[in-house]
Amino acid sequence: MKYIDEFRDGELARGIAAQIAREVRPDRRYQFMEFCGGHTHAISRYGVTDLLPPQVKLIHGPGCPVCVLPIGRVDLAIRLALEHKVTLATYGDCLRVPASDGLSLLKAKARGAKIAMVYSAADALDLARRQPEQQVVFFAIGFETTTPPTALVIKQAAAEGIANFSVVCNHVLTPSAITSILESPEVRSLGTVPLDGFIGPAHVSTVIGSRPYEHFAQEYAKPVVIAGFEPLDVMQAILMLVRQVNDGRAEVENEFTRAVTRDGNLKAQALVSEVFELRRSFEWRGLGDVPYSALAIREAYAAFDAEKKFALETRKVPDNKACECGAILRGVKHPRDCRIFGTVCTPENPIGSCMVSSEGACAAHYTYGRFREIAVQAA
């Protein structure tokens, strides 16, 4: 596959791996957090860690939109579908997120709720166009990457006067989450999670550009290398981070130059700010309430805001006590440190959100990495 295979080449990977091994100092550790679920998935799927020297450790960050979705928001979606009888359209990953009372959107569907899996916001709007007598609500999730398409369909619905369409907006912001991690006591004062740098988001950065990360590099003295989602991108970014650490630099570097510029996609940014405004605070699973970390629909488009249209309230629901998703999302714990990982909590029966999406740290480890814990002998 052109433009893809080039970034998955094993020969080149071995070359970069050898270079990383040559450049790491034997006496120190390099702990890098890959913020995005896309990176987590690529690292697990291609076995990137097998190519790294023991000094380099990767910590999975909270950049999986499904994983940070609090239970209360999923409950709200389920109530909308079951009680208000709307057609609830959402992305596939959302369907299995565990909610209260042993429910999930998929299980609500089995109880008669109208749940439609869509591949894009535009598909959800199409659904509303096709069945004008039925209320269609798009349950929008995601970071800055999926926000412009949601803004676009809200504008389109307004322009066409589609009255049976609305959106539950759960869009969250990457920079606020990174700040929250850097400000957390484990990283700041306790030093239990030494972070030496970040592999910066790929698709998110195509929208917001590399500029927003300059603040972290300066303020917290942490290097950031923005990287694409292909395994060679990740390897190259790790090499660049190792070099920054060795040189004592803390800069924003861009490995993903084929798609990311310093300013990002200005058109998309304008679209987003026309339709959305900052929420004062939003709950993240694992991080708790994070100030100014999410978007809400502006008053001008209130007719398309399902939370207002159906007078919905988000009820806070605590996570399962045994679940370590919170600590895992902050990089404090590894999935194997969780008592219920792989026993009570599995991809078939997820207790915590990190087990739901293939981008979640637990699901990725369960699906691709479990064997590392066990000695396996070939015959």
Binding site: I4, G38, G47, Y368
Partner: protein, 359 residues
């Protein structure tokens, strides 16, 4: 004087514009007519001609193998096939995976009221063709009609009977550490074809289902090892399975669990067509988990792997066959894969349905 009795005139089935209605399942004349003019006419054999609710058959010598499979595919017609031939291939292949020669099929139809007869005829003709090509006879069957909205056009269940040499024990529990894992060709063709034709996912890739009957290939694979297998149960083919729903990954995990072994496969050895790879990439799917309908996995004693692989490659349905890995000793029954990238990972069971990634 009695008037002479006129022979009753029955208007023949309108196979062009007619539709299934409730009377076609009612047990009366309409049902008899549907069976005679459509099913029996197409499947055409001595057993159906007898008009019984069962078939009395004679089986060739050997151990009897039975399998049954229901087919509920949407859309009913797709590039490379339709529910008709699929319902024959699916069951023929299940029987063939015991190393058996399929001989007879039973077919059961659940039809939805309002289903066009011309579509039903296309499906039945396709079944008849597939059965003839596979040299199996559809000897008995059943038809039921459900109200509109209670079915999705047509559901077909087929049951197959075949026979296998008494000495051959081919089954999922027989993989042994050291065995070779062979795959008969490109993976993911059927699943991605179906995905591409679904209304909301029309990405128009140049794809075709691989649906095919595999017993011919199986017979060809057995030929070079037949004698060895009769003499020594450890030789030859240990396991055969067609990786349908859940794809290659699921099939390998099933076998690993049944046999209590692990597996190590080589990503670079698994053939995926560029258009399947591209469509998977686009939808965030993994071809290892995508369904096939004309491929098989064979687990073979190491010493016979070369001969069986050569026989596969000499058969049209196995031209792209390859050795993709080996069976290992592993109390956890993991299927592991050496990635093309140079790492290793677990190839796990499919979780839920394969869901696309979103970011």
């Amino acid at each position: 004087m009695n008037a002479p009795i006129k022979p009753g005139y029955v208007r023949p089935l309108d196979l062009k514009h007619g539709r299934i209605d409730m009377t076609h399942g009612g047990g009366g004349r309409a049902m008899k007519q549907l069976i005679e003019q459509l099913f029996a006419a197409a499947f055409d054999n001595e057993w159906l001609a007898q008009g019984n609710d069962m078939a009395r058959v004679v089986l060739p010598p050997g151990r009897v193998v039975m399998a049954t499979d229901s087919h509920v595919i949407t859309p009913l017609f797709f590039p490379g096939g339709d529910i008709g031939c699929l319902s024959v291939h699916g069951t023929v292949n299940d029987v063939a995976m015991a190393g058996a020669v399929p001989v007879y099929l039973a077919a059961s139809f659940i039809l939805e009221e309002g289903f066009p007869l011309d579509s039903l005829k296309r499906i039945v003709d396709s079944m008849a063709r597939a059965a003839r090509d596979a040299n199996v006879a559809i000897v008995t069957g059943d038809t039921k009609v459900v109200e509109q909205g209670k079915g999705d056009g047509v559901f077909i269940t087929t049951t197959g009977v075949g026979v296998v040499d008494e000495a051959f024990v081919i089954g999922g529990e027989r993989a042994r550490p050291g065995d070779a894992i062979l795959l008969s060709g490109f993976i993911g063709d059927h699943g991605m074809t179906i995905m591409s034709t679904r209304e909301s996912l029309a990405f128009g890739a140049d794809l075709q289902s691989d649906t095919a009957a595999l017993h011919g290939l199986v017979a060809a694979m057995l030929d070079p090892v037949r004698e060895a297998m009769r003499g020594d149960a450890g030789r030859g083919i240990h396991v055969l399975r067609d990786p349908t729903r859940g794809g290659l990954a699921t099939t390998l995990n099933e076998i690993a669990g049944q046999s209590g072994v692990g597996m190590l496969i080589e990503e670079g050895a698994i053939a995926v067509r560029p258009q399947v790879e591209a469509a998977c990439e686009f939808l965030g799917l993994d071809p290892l988990y995508v369904a096939n309908e004309g491929k098989l996995v064979a687990i073979v004693a190491a010493e016979d792997a070369e001969a069986v692989l050569a026989a596969m490659r000499a058969h049209p349905l196995g031209a792209d066959a390859a050795l993709i890995g080996t069976v290992t000793e592993d109390p956890h029954h993991f299927v592991q894969m050496a990635t093309r990238f140079g790492g290793r990972r677990v190839v796990d069971w499919l979780t839920g349905e394969q869901l696309p990634r979103i970011c």
